[in-house]
Each structure stands twice: as C-alpha cells, then as structure tokens.
C-alpha cells in the first residue's frame, strides 16, 4: 500500500493535538488544585468560626469572672463597713477585760499576802502553844476554863 502522503500541515496538526492533550492534563491538575482548595478553605473557615466562638466564650467567662469579682469586692466592702463598730466594741471590751484582769491579779496578790500573814500567825500560835510557859500555865487556863464554864 502506498504510504499516506505527509501533508505540510501534519506537523502543525500534531502539535495542536499534543497541545490539546497537554491542556487536558493541565485542566486535570487545576481540577485537583480546585478540589483540594475547596475543602481546605472550608476547613479554614470552620477553624476561624471555632476560634471566634472560643474567644467569645472566653470573653463571656472573663466578663462573668469580672462580675463575680466586683460582687465579691462589694460584699467584702459591706462586711468591712459592718465590722468597724463591732471592732470598736471589741476593743472596749478588751480594754475592760484587761482592767478586770489587772484587778483580779491585784486581788490575787493581796490574797497571797493575807495567806502569808495567816500562815505566819498560825506559826507564831503554834510556837506559843509549844512553849514551856504555855504548858506550865496550862492548869491556870484549865481552872479559868472550869470557873468560867460554870
């Protein structure tokens, strides 16, 4: 069979075919890029939304914490205001208590001194009763006791 005549435009047509095929390859590559980017964009959008939601939650928590702090501080201030007269009463009571304590201490010292005196007198009495003169004069005190008892 006679070979097909090679037309002058054959090379050009072949180049066009080649370019058409390569364009298809490029389209496939771009489709892949598109198909890859679309879910990535969606993921990033979702991440941004999550980050915003998280930030808002934290802001709400921070606001709530700030409110609790303010409430607590106000409550503390109220307690402080109420505690001041009590503190003054307490101080007065403590002063009175100190005075009473001092008085007790003084009385206790006086008592100790009296007890010491009693003990001295008892000792002296014991010494008198043990003396010879006391014993020798015992009969006199007995007589006196009898006559007086009558």
């Amino acid at each position: 069979m006679k070979p097909a005549p090679s037309e002058p435009s054959d090379a050009l047509v072949n180049q066009l075919r080649q370019q058409l095929l390569l364009a298809q390859v490029r389209i496939m590559e771009l489709e892949d890029v598109r198909d890859g980017l679309a879910p990535r964009l969606a993921e990033i959008e979702q991440l941004l939304a999550q980050a915003q939601s998280l930030a808002e939650t934290k802001l709400d928590e921070a606001a709530h914490a700030a409110k609790i702090l303010a409430d607590t501080q106000a409550h503390a201030a109220g307690l402080q205001a109420r505690s001041e007269p009590l503190a003054r009463e307490l101080a007065a009571a403590q002063t009175a208590l100190a005075e009473k304590t001092s008085e007790i201490t003084r009385r206790r010292e006086e008592l100790v001194r009296a007890e010491t005196t009693v003990r001295q007198l008892e000792s002296e009495l014991t010494a008198v009763k043990s003396s010879r003169s006391w014993r020798w004069t015992a009969w006199l005190r007995a007589l006196g006791g009898k006559s007086g008892g009558r």
Binding site: A4, N14, R17, Q18, V25, I27, L48, Q52
Partner: protein
Amino acid sequence: MSAPVLHGEIETPRPVRAAGGLVSLKGWCLVAGAPEAPPVRLRAGEHVLPMTARLPRTDVPALLPEEPGAAQCGFTIESALPPGVHHAFCEAQLPGGEWRVFKQLVIAAEAPPFLAGLDEPVREGVLRDRVKVGGWALDPARPIETLTLRYGHREIACVLDRPRDDVAASFPAVPHARRPGFISGDFLVAGHGPVRIKARLAGGGVRVVPTSVTFSVATDENHGPELDLTAARVALERGAPRPAGSPGQKTGRLLNIVFILPGSFASNNALHVIALAAGLAAHGHACAVAVAHDPETLAHHDQPSFRGLAHHEAARGLTFPNGRGPDLIHAWTTRENVRGLAEKLRARHGARLVVHLEDNEQQVLAHSLHRTMAELERLPDAELDRLVPPDLSHPRRARAFLAAADGVTVIMDRLREFVPTGKPCATIMPAADARHFHPRPVPAEFRAALRLRPGTTVLAYHGNVHAANAAEMRALYAAVLELNRTGPPVVLLRTGLDRVDFLGPLAADSAPHVLSLGQILHHRHLPPLLALADLFVQPGGPDEFNDHRFPSKLPEFFALGRPVILPRTNLGATLRHGVDAWVLDRADAAGITAAVRTLRADPALREKLARGAAAYAAEHFSWARSADALAKFYQTLSVA
C-alpha cells in the same frame, strides 16, 4: 440610688463575619425602668460604629411587660470595619450619658471587595463588535498596577488611570479612587466567553471579578470564520476514583518500617513503594520512605500514608510516632546510595534489613557504563569504585549487601537467581493503582476532537527511555513509522522523559506519528490519556536485562482493559498468547508491525484480548494483596 440595669442581646448568628468588611448586627437593648430604649453602638478598638436604625419589637414587651422602652428597643448596626479579627463591645448609653457594655463579640472582618465593572460601550449583554471597551476598577485597600480583561481564550491588556468622577464620588475616603477608569489597549480580538476583570495590585495580590458582559467576537485578522469559537469544550473524561483494595487480616506486632529508594518520588519504583506503604499502613504499621533527591516530588502523590524524607535527613537517625527507631529497613535495590544509607541506619538502630531486587543490576550497570559484565568483573576494586556512580549497584558490594541482609524481596521469580542460597525470599508482585487504573472505554468524543485520520490506530506507551531500553524503544518507533508507510495511520501516544537520544535519524520521520507529552507529573492523570489508545505495546525481547525485570507499566496496561502486545520475557513468559495478551517471541519492529496489523484486522480478537487483559489484571495484580504478602514476609523474619 442603684445603678441602671441593662437588658439586651445580639441576635446576629455567631460567629459574626463582616463579609467584604461590612458589619451587620441586629439585636435589642433597654435600660430597666427607662421610658425609652437607649442609643446603642459597637466599639472595636478605635473604631466606633453607631446604631444605624431603631426597630420596633413585639417579642421583648411580651418578655418584659413592665418595661416601657421594650416596644422600640430593637436596633441594627451596619457599617465597615477594617480587615482583621476584632474584639468588639456592644454598648448602650445610660440616662446619665455614660456608655456601658452589654455584650462582647469577636468579629472577623474580611478585606473590602475589589469592585469593577464594564460600562463602555455596554454594561451587560453580549458584545460582538471589534471595539475598544472600558470601565472602572477599584480595590479600596490598594491601587491597581495592571489590569486585563479575560474572555474565552483571550486576555487583553487595559490602560489604567482614567478619571471617573462618579466612582470617586462614591469613595471619597479612598485616595486612589479618583482615577479608577480603564480602557482596553486595543480593539477586541476574536474570542468568545463571559468577561472577567483581572487586576494585579500594588504590593502583590490578584483580584478577579466577573462582569455581566459576554464578548463574542467571531473573527479577526488571525481568525477566520471557519474557526467556531463558540463550540462547546470536549472534555477528557477522568471518571471518579474507585476504592482501593481492602487489606487482609492483620498479623503480628506493628512495625516501624523505612523504605530507602535510590531516586525520587517521581520514579516508577516510588509508585511501588508508595502503594505498598499504603497497604502496610492499612495493617497498622508505621512507614517512612527516604528518597535520594527531590523529596518535594512527594507532592505528586495524593494523601501519602507515610513520612517522606531525603536520605540525608534519614541518615541523622529516624524516630517514628511511637518514639522508637525503625524495626525494619527495606532497601529498594542494591544501588550504592541505598546501600550506604541502609548500612548506616542498620548500624545505628539495629534494625532488620530486607533488600528488594527489581532489575538485573549488573546488566543495568553494564549498559550504563557501556561495558560488558565480564569486563566489569575483571576490573580491580579501586577502578570499579571510581566508575560506579551512587545511583547504580556496585557488583561486589551489592553481593556483600545481599549476603548480610535478613531477607530479600524480588519483583519476579527470575530474580531469585541473585538471592544468596538459603536467604529468606518473597516475590512481591507489582500492580496498578486500582483507584485510577481500571477498564475504561475509549473517550470517543475527545478522540474525535483530535481529528485523527479515519482508521487511525492509537498505541500508547508511558515510560522513560534510558540506556537499558533505548534499543527496544527505537524498535517501537520504527514499527510506528513502518505501519504508517505501509497502511492505515498509526499514532503513538507517548509520555515520559527521554534520558538518552535514542532515535537518531528516525526522529524526524517518526515525529508526525508521535504525540509526545513528556513527563506527566501526577500518575493518576495517566489513565484518561492512556484510555485514548486502542492497543498497548511493550517492546523488547528476551535478554539478560528484560528477563530479570518487570516493566511497571504492564499491570497498568492490563488493568485498563486493552489488548497488550509484549515479548515472551518476564511477565510475557507466563501469559497465554491470544488469551491474556498478544505475546511475541520478540517485540522488535517487525514483530510489533505484524502484531498491530493482525489485531487491527480482527476486531473480535481485539475484544477478546481486551477482556483477557482486564481479567488477568483482576486476578494477578493487586497492591492490597502484595502488601499483605509483604507484611507476612516481614513477620517471618523474626522481627515480631
């Protein structure tokens, strides 16, 4: 006196996005006991956005019936915020004049949109005249450096900096809005399609907006009426990816496996390793793949199930997700760069070593160095060391490397000749990626668009030409030329790189019959192209090189369901001629020519061979099965 109490809510769905920089908020707010609802504003940093409108509400009075201001407590705020993420405060003004926050928001504001339009000579519709066209374009953030109009296959440049008082009046705060007009630099040229305005901004960035205009200019000085620019595009059907095979039953303990490749992820053997690694990962094993160069070529593969890295990175030591080093090193060939890294890693991590053979390495070396194997064997060590490049196997060191391995895998049984006696060995068959390589019909519409001559037969071959296969590829081209000289036309669709000049004087004569597309970066893009073919041809014949290799394109040929012409060597030696494939004693120029003529003349035979090819592929080629076999082999090497 107690402090005023605010009630309020923002009802715009959260999170709030300011599309195009425009915030739009809706809500309600009132001061307890106040006769009227308070003024409201949004404060974000230094930006204060006042209330835009007061809205009546019926729901709030129902909710708070004792509040006199409830009926008119609705509001909207609509205004612009600069791009960015803003911490914003919704504030209401108390009767004493003080602004108090009642809500906080995080607002993500986008950049203001690029605005543009055509209005000269038309604002919308179809323009068929070869005229100059004009319009305006404005990016509120940055001036425009260059601007083009795109339509169909055309892009025409425009002249900027023309006054447009109407636009300037609308954007008094934008300094570069004074001269936003443009006009095309020339009259419209032939082209058809909706018009987009594309601007390149100062400081980088590109903006594109569609218009309401379609240009449909049928002819110009370079395009006659015979070219129909309005014709619909004929697409090359890709088809949706099919599911890959399921892995078999998991056995043994999970391993850390590193594959060492001699080239990049763009090589054929990388396809094998990637597919096997995917199968092993499905079993639960952790895989890493080290390549000698261009690790960025990993991007050519979708969703790899392993860590990819370069040899030099791996040489510093490997740690897997479980914190351990590799349990097993799979050296992919005995090439010097693979051997060097494998021995280094083995010494460091004490891992088991498996070597994979896929070629007669000595023959490849002999081809590359243009010497016989006998000559190479006689060379003294020093001379051999000097001659053998890193990407080829050193005959003596490769033998020692194999001898020291714990096991060997081969791509085909014939390669067991090179496995030391008694060494555990497994044959791991290559396959085709089942997601993309499956029987596909010829895309008739697209093939018709190629305007091939009537009766044209399309052959396809995807693969590189190198020293080892140069002669047989020359035979394929010679066959194509001969077929065109003596009969109906034949076109060879070819992809891949020519690493050697293999055609010589055949180049010019064969060129009109070859559609050479060069390297296709993404392997998954090949099947739609290969589907254009009527027949696949693997040239060559039995010899020391072919007998010990398994051309990786063969499973892909068979999987696509076309008649395959191939020589009686490697896979061809196991096939049934006339059933599975058309097997030639030698697929040289004469053999290929005769085979193509035979098949072209017999449609029934072609159909039978197409079915046979698909059936053979389904029965013998499966990456999932190969990965199962490999996983089982690993377990036999006492690594468990």
